[in-house]
């Protein structure tokens, strides 16, 4: 069975991965944390080399690692804006990697192209909306007491749990 590869999809993935690595490296370098930048670059290189792997869980691991690196950058007093950008870009890169995996055995037909277009539009919308809200939250200073933050987080966790149950019921 021939694997179908789409240059456009691969170009998008490469661009997204490059921007992710640049954002993470920038966050660490601005904080003077060279080992972190090195880790970010290594992660990017590893992800690039294994992007066509047969197993989906590789992409999941890379997403979790890149989010962990972004969180670690913030915790080591790096600039939060590049770290938040990196979180958004890691989501996009992960999604594109999974899309490449899903569509590699499909033929380049009109219906598949429409599916890919719609998917990319949705990913773009999700990442832009998420990043905008996150960056706006950074720009608008909200002096929330810690207890309010804890309550908000607990509410988010509760909402997430509800969402999980809805998904389980819909199976």
């Amino acid at each position: 069975m021939n694997k179908q590869s789409c240059p456009f999809r691969e170009t998008l993935f490469d661009a997204s991965l490059s921007l992710l690595v640049l954002s993470l490296c920038a966050a660490y370098i601005m904080a003077g944390r060279w080992p972190g930048a090195l880790c970010a670059a290594s992660l990017g290189g590893l992800w690039f080399l294994t992007r066509n792997h047969d197993q989906r869980w590789y992409s999941h691991i890379y997403l979790l690692l890149s989010l962990a690196l972004a969180a670690a950058a913030i915790m080591t007093h790096a600039q939060p804006v590049p770290a938040i950008l990196a979180a958004g870009l890691s989501l996009v890169t992960w999604d594109l990697n999974l899309l490449m995996y899903d569509l590699r055995s499909s033929l380049p037909k009109e219906s598949t192209k429409r599916y890919e277009q719609r998917h990319l539009q949705s990913v773009a919308m999700a990442s832009i909306v998420g990043l905008l809200i996150a960056l706006m939250g950074r720009l608008v200073p909200l002096n929330l007491p810690f207890i309010v933050l804890v309550v908000l987080i607990l509410l988010s966790l509760f909402a997430l749990d509800k969402f999980w149950r809805i998904l389980n019921r819909s199976r």
Partner: protein, 426 residues
């Protein structure tokens, strides 16, 4: 619950817990793109109650270079009022190999539009049926997905390949009293002159033999013509486990099946009454019959014929129910021959059947597997002698034997065996 959702929820959970532990609001902001991704997916997911998808399947069978290619087309139509992203997945039947197309199709369907999944596979003979097709429908991001089984019925039968044998005059020892093409050594209606007899009331006047009548006053004589009848033929295909031999993709049993199909087609085309028995762990029978309907029955039987390889032993050849075949019919056995098979031919001859054995040669068939060393050559020579002795002991029962190398055409051997005059051979 897709793996995407699991990973995203795990990531969000991790980030929020980390934010709480480190008392850092910026870490919590990292989860916002992920939450937006989940939210957009949820927002774009179609209403499950309004989801209406229809599926239709078409199958087309062609033969190319001796292989059977089955082209399958499945059309999925979105009859719901909302657009939906679908993933259509198909499974290949057992022993099928994909030749072209794709078994998975991803599509984004607007209302009243359809997607087509098309693929071609090749397979050996058999019956193949599909009841449903699995479709996963949901949002474009794959957050909410519902797997639905849509009815998409289809069935196809792949028959054994038939090598067209030219019709040749058959000379069985006995015939059935039905009009056919075999001279029956009986007077009646026909085309070949047979003899002259005394006139009986009712004989057609155009058959009067005036020469004889002129020589015998006050008596009339009628010409008789040789009646032409059909033969009763039974085919026995040996499907015991010990008879199967595979070399790469080729199977000795498949050659036997194709030979049985070709012979059945030729005999039925000539108008004879043909029956079939596939003897193995499961015995399947096509009772005697004529015409295209009988050919379909025999092809159905042969399409399903399998050598059962589940480890249990096959029944002994002594249990073969030969009484299924009408008395004095011609029996053609297709079997590579095992050591205890002599008893079958003794039974057949004792029951009055006229028998022909077509034995695909397993030694010649397995030649590519045989290493070229002294011990192998000696072993092969011994096995050849053993087989020859076995065939000779069967031939001694006045059973005609064809030792068939499957790489050579079968038709000339069968023609030579069956067109001898009645006093010779079979």
């Amino acid at each position: 619950m897709t793996d995407r959702v699991r990973v995203l929820c795990l990531a969000v959970l991790g980030l929020l817990v980390t934010a709480m532990i480190t008392r850092s609001g910026d870490v919590a902001w990292l989860s916002l793109p992920l939450l937006a991704y989940l939210g957009i997916g949820l927002w774009q997911s179609p209403d499950r109650q309004k989801l209406r998808l229809n599926a239709a399947r078409t199958l087309e069978q062609t033969r190319l270079d001796g292989r059977v290619l089955v082209n399958t087309t499945v059309t999925i139509e979105n009859s719901s009022p909302e657009p939906v992203s679908v993933c259509v997945t198909e499974m290949l039947p057992e022993n099928a190999a994909q030749m072209d197309g794709s078994l998975t199709e991803w599509a984004y369907l607007q209302p009243s539009t359809s997607a087509v999944l098309n693929y071609t596979f090749t397979t050996t003979r058999g019956d193949f049926a599909w009841e449903k097709i699995h479709v996963t429908a949901g949002d474009p991001l794959g957050i909410i997905s519902n797997t639905i089984s849509l009815p998409a019925r289809g069935d196809i039968q792949v028959r054994p390949s038939i090598h067209k044998f030219k019709a040749f005059p058959l000379r069985p020892r006995s015939t059935l009293h039905s009009p056919g093409s075999i001279p029956a050594r009986l007077g009646g209606s026909g085309t070949d002159f047979y003899g002259v007899r005394e006139y009986h009331a009712g004989d057609p006047l155009r058959w009067l033999d005036w020469h004889q009548t002129a020589r015998h006053p006050y008596k009339f004589f009628t010409r008789e013509f040789e009646q032409e009848e059909i033969a009763e033929i039974g085919l026995i295909l040996d499907a015991r486990q010990s008879m199967e031999l595979r070399v790469g993709d080729e199977s000795l049993f498949e050659h036997g099946v194709n030979a049985a199909a070709s012979l059945a087609e030729m005999f039925i085309h000539q108008g004879h009454r043909v029956s079939l028995m596939v003897f193995g762990k499961r015995t399947s029978i096509a009772f005697p019959g004529y015409g295209k309907t009988q050919l379909h029955r025999i092809m159905n039987c042969l399409s399903r014929a399998r050598v059962e390889t589940d480890g249990q032993s096959s029944p002994h050849i002594d249990f073969l129910p030969i009484r299924m075949f009408p008395g004095r019919s011609m029996i053609i056995v297709i079997s590579p021959l095992a050591s205890g098979d002599l008893s079958l031919y003794q039974r057949l001859r004792a029951s009055g059947y006229q028998t022909l054995l077509i034995s695909p040669n397993p030694i010649e068939f397995s030649r590519p597997l045989q290493p070229d060393d002294l011990y192998t050559r000696q072993a092969v020579r011994t096995v050849r002698i053993e087989r020859l002795l076995r065939l000779n002991s069967i031939a001694g029962l006045q059973v005609k034997v064809i030792d068939w190398n499957v790489n050579q055409p079968l038709f000339p051997l069968v023609r030579n065996a069956l067109t001898r005059s009645r006093g010779q051979g079979v």
